[in-house]
C-alpha cells in the first residue's frame, strides 16, 4: 500500500534521505523511530508529495506520488505532529470542513459529534472556537478528521505528541482498530514504548538511512531499547 523505493532527498549539501526502501502492507502499522533530523518527517513529506525525491520513487496504492499527487493524497489520511486548524471556526466546523474536503461528502452534525466523541471531545468542547483549544484538543480534532476520511492508509507524524497518556492510549487503540480493518499505517515517533505497543513493524532511521527494519512481535521492550541506543550511537 505504501512503498518507498530507494528514496533519496538532498537539500543542498545535506542528504536528508539516503536510499530509503520500505513498504507497508494493508493491516500493518510501521513505526519509524529516529532522532530529530533523522529524516522521518522528510519521508512523510515525500509520500505526501510536498517534497519531490531527488532519487527513487514513493508509491501509494501502486501510484507514483510525484505523477499522481492528488489521487495519492486522496487515498491517505495524514496527522502531523501539530494539527493546524482554523482558529475562528469551532472544532465541529473544522471537522465538517476538512471531512467534506477529504471525502467529498457532507456529514451530519450527529455523525460529526459522534466522531469527535470517539476521540474524546464532547459536544461542549466541539462547539467552541479552536482558538481556545489546547494542543491535545486540536490533535483530537485532527484524528477525527483522519478517521472521517476512512482512508486505506495513514501517514502519521508524531501523532500523539501533546496528547495526555489516556488520550494517547485511546489513540493507540484506534490505530489497532484501523489496522484490523486493513489500513496500512506509517507512523513516526520518538516514543519507544508507543512503537512497541502499536507497531507490527519497526524501522529505525539515522542520518537519512533506514538502519533497521524489524518485526515488532519478535522484539521485547529491552531488545528495542538496546537496538535503538546502538543505532543512535549512545
Amino acid at each position: 500500500m505504501l512503498e518507498a523505493i530507494g528514496v533519496s532527498k538532498r537539500f543542498g549539501d545535506k542528504l536528508a534521505l539516503d536510499g530509503v526502501t520500505l513498504s507497508v502492507e494493508p493491516g500493518e502499522i510501521y513505526c519509524l523511530l529516529g532522532a530529530n533530523g533523522a529524516g522521518k518527517t522528510t519521508l512523510i513529506n515525500v509520500f505526501l508529495s510536498f517534497l519531490a525525491p531527488t532519487e527513487g520513487e514513493a508509491r501509494i496504492d501502486g501510484l507514483d506520488v510525484g505523477r499522481h499527487p492528488i489521487e495519492t493524497k486522496q487515498r491517505v489520511a495524514y496527522i502531523p505532529e501539530q494539527i493546524m486548524l482554523y482558529g475562528v471556526l469551532s472544532g465541529l466546523e473544522n471537522l465538517r470542513y476538512f471531512a467534506a474536503l477529504g471525502t467529498g461528502k457532507k456529514m451530519s452534525r450527529p455523525e460529526l459529534l459522534d466522531l469527535l466523541a470517539s476521540v474524546g471531545l464532547d459536544e461542549a468542547a466541539a462547539v467552541r472556537r479552536v482558538s481556545t483549544y489546547s494542543k491535545g484538543m486540536r490533535q483530537k480534532v485532527g484524528i477525527a478528521i483522519a478517521m472521517a476520511k476512512q482512508a486505506r492508509a495513514f501517514l502519521l507524524d508524531e501523532p500523539t505528541s501533546g496528547l495526555d497518556p489516556k488520550a494517547a492510549s485511546e489513540f493507540a487503540q484506534l490505530l489497532r482498530k484501523a489496522r484490523d480493518n486493513g489500513v496500512a499505517v506509517l507512523t513516526t515517533t520518538h516514543d519507544l514504548f508507543h512503537a512497541k505497543q502499536t507497531g507490527t513493524r519497526i524501522g529505525i532511521m539515522k542520518a537519512g538511512k533506514l538502519v533497521a527494519d524489524l518485526e515488532g512481535a519478535d522484539l521485547t521492550d529491552a531488545d528495542l531499547e538496546a537496538l535503538y541506543l546502538k543505532h543512535m550511537g549512545a
Binding site: 510536498f50 502531523p80 482554523y86 475562528v88
Partner: protein, 464 residues
C-alpha cells in the same frame, strides 16, 4: 468543493471582522456616492428639460428682427444625461452638458482640457465608479492578502492539501469567496440604477439595462483581475506580511503614480495642441480659406469695401460659412484623432495597469466619455449650421443696396419657426461596445493572464 472552500473563507472574513471593516467603509462610501450621483442626476435632468424647452421657445418667440442678430442670439442645446452617469460621471463634469449654438463659430465646448485628461481629475471626485475602481481592489487586498500566505504560516494550507485537494480548486474556491464579497458591493448600485431607469430619460430602459450588463462584465473582469492577482501574490509571497506590503505597493502605484504617468506619456507620445495653439491655427486656416473664396467669388479679399457692398452681405456670409465647414471639420478631426490615439495608448497600458482600461471602458459604456460627447457635439454643430444656413439664405433673399440701411431689414417671426427643434438620440449600447472593444479586450486578456499566474503560483505553493 468550490462552494465549501468559499463558504469557509467567507465565515473567516466575517468572524475576524475584516469584511465588516473594509466592506463596511466601502459600502458607506458607495452609498454616499450613489446618493450624490442620484441627486445630481435628478437636478441636471430637471434643469435640462426646463431649459431646453424655454430656450427653443425663446427662439420661436423672437420678434421681427435682423436674421444675423437672431443667429448671434442662437440657442442652447443640452446633452441627454445617461442614467449610468450616476455610476460614472466620466468627463461630463468637465465638459458640461450645454452647447451654445451661435453664428460664425463651432461651439468651443468641444475643446476643453478635460477631454484629454480622461478622468484624471476625477480622482478627487467621489463616484461609485471611483469607489469600485480604486477601493474595490483595496478591499480585495485586505481580504485576500493572506489567503495562501496566511494559511501557509498557520499550517492549514498543508492540512488542506494533504487531503488531496487540488491547489487549483483551492484557488478557485478562494477566488469565489473574494468575488462574492465584492459582488455584494455591486448590488446596491444595481438597485439604484434600476430605480432611476423607471424615470423618463433619453436613454431607453432596455439600452440602460444592456449598458449596465456590459458595465457589470467590465467590472467583473477588473475585480477578477484584482482577486486572482492578490491570490497569486499571496501564493508566491514568503509570508503574509510580505504579501500585504507587496500588494499595497502595487495598489499605490496602480491607482496613483502609473495613471498620471500614463496620461503624461500619452500626451508626449501623441502631442495635442494647447487651446491657444488650436484656436490660432484654426483662425489662420479659416482666414486663408475665406480669403481664397472671396478672391474667387468677388475678386477681392478686402472686407466690405466698395467692391463688396453690404447688399451682398448675405452672400458673403454664406460663402464664409460654406468654406469654413470643411476647415473646421478637418481641424477638429485631427484634434479628436489625437485624443483617440492618446486614449488607445492608455488603454493598451491597461495590460499592465488595469485601472487605465476599466476607467476608459466604464466611461464609454456609461455614456459619459469623450466619444459620446463628440457624437453630441457633432449633432449640435449640424443644428448650428442649419440655423446658420436658414438665416443666411434669408439674408441673400432680402438683400438690398441701401448701404447701412441694410441693417434695418427685419425678418418675420415665421423665419424662426423654420429652424427645427433640436432632437438628439444618444448612440446605442452596441455603438458604445464597439467603441470600447479595445478596453474590454485588454481587461479580458489581463484577466486571463492573472488567472494563469494565480494557477502557476498555487501549484508552485502546493509543492513547497
Amino acid at each position: 468543493m468550490l462552494r465549501l472552500i468559499a463558504a469557509k473563507d467567507l465565515i473567516e472574513y466575517l468572524r475576524d471582522g475584516r469584511l465588516y471593516l473594509a466592506g463596511g467603509v466601502v459600502l458607506v462610501l458607495l452609498f454616499t456616492a450613489l446618493g450624490v450621483g442620484l441627486e445630481r442626476h435628478a437636478e441636471v435632468a430637471a434643469e435640462r428639460v426646463a431649459a431646453q424647452g424655454l430656450d427653443y421657445d425663446d427662439w420661436l418667440a423672437q420678434p421681427e428682427r435682423h436674421p444675423h442678430d437672431a443667429a448671434h442670439q442662437g440657442m442652447h442645446v443640452f446633452k441627454p444625461q445617461s442614467p449610468l452617469a450616476i455610476l460614472d460621471p466620466g468627463i461630463d463634469p468637465f465638459v458640461g452638458s450645454t452647447v451654445w449654438l451661435q453664428a460664425h463659430r463651432q461651439s468651443e465646448i468641444k475643446f476643453r482640457p478635460a477631454q484629454d485628461a480622461t478622468g484624471l481629475q476625477r480622482f478627487g471626485e467621489l463616484s461609485p465608479a471611483w469607489v469600485l475602481q480604486v477601493l474595490g481592489p483595496l478591499v480585495i487586498i485586505v481580504l485576500g492578502f493572506n489567503a495562501f500566505a496566511g494559511e501557509r504560516e498557520q499550517g492549514t494550507l498543508r492540512q488542506t492539501l494533504s487531503l488531496g485537494v487540488s491547489p487549483v480548486r483551492l484557488l478557485w474556491g478562494k477566488a469565489l469567496a473574494l468575488c462574492g464579497c465584492v459582488a455584494m458591493l455591486l448590488v446596491p448600485a444595481a438597485v439604484v440604477i434600476g430605480a432611476t431607469m423607471s424615470a423618463a430619460n433619453d436613454f431607453s430602459a432596455s439600452d440602460t439595462v444592456a449598458r449596465f450588463g456590459w458595465l457589470t462584465l467590465g467590472y467583473g473582469l477588473y475585480l477578477g483581475i484584482a482577486a486572482f492577482g492578490v491570490l497569486a501574490v499571496s501564493a508566491l509571497a514568503s509570508s503574509s506580511r510580505v504579501a500585504l506590503v507587496a500588494l499595497l505597493g502595487i495598489w499605490i502605484a496602480g491607482v496613483t503614480l502609473v495613471p498620471r504617468a500614463a496620461s503624461d506619456f500619452a500626451r508626449v507620445w501623441y502631442p495635442s495642441p494647447s487651446r491657444l495653439e488650436f484656436n490660432t491655427a484654426l483662425d489662420s486656416a479659416l482666414g486663408e480659406a475665406s480669403a481664397r473664396a472671396w478672391q474667387a467669388e468677388f475678386g477681392v479679399t478686402t472686407r466690405w469695401g466698395t467692391d463688396v457692398p453690404l447688399d451682398r452681405w448675405g452672400q458673403a456670409l454664406q460663402l464664409d460659412d460654406n468654406v469654413s465647414y470643411p476647415v473646421v471639420d478637418a481641424h477638429f478631426e485631427r484634434l479628436w484623432g489625437t485624443f483617440d490615439r492618446q486614449q488607445a495608448l492608455q488603454e493598451w497600458l491597461g495590460l499592465a495597469v488595469p485601472l487605465l482600461a476599466i476607467r476608459a471602458y466604464s466611461m464609454g459604456i456609461a455614456g459619459t466619455d469623450f466619444a459620446h460627447h463628440r457624437e453630441f457635439s457633432v449633432a449640435a454643430e449640424r443644428q448650428r449650421r442649419t440655423i446658420q444656413d436658414i438665416v443666411s439664405e434669408d439674408l441673400v433673399e432680402h438683400a438690398d443696396a441701401r448701404g447701412a440701411g441694410h441693417f434695418d431689414y427685419r425678418a418675420p417671426a415665421e423665419l424662426w419657426a423654420k429652424v427645427p427643434r433640436f432632437e438628439y438620440r444618444p448612440p446605442s449600447v452596441l455603438w458604445a461596445v464597439r467603441e470600447n472593444l479595445l478596453g474590454l479586450s485588454v481587461l479580458a486578456v489581463t484577466f486571463a493572464a492573472a488567472v494563469a499566474l494565480a494557477h502557476l503560483a498555487a501549484v508552485r505553493r502546493s509543492r513547497s
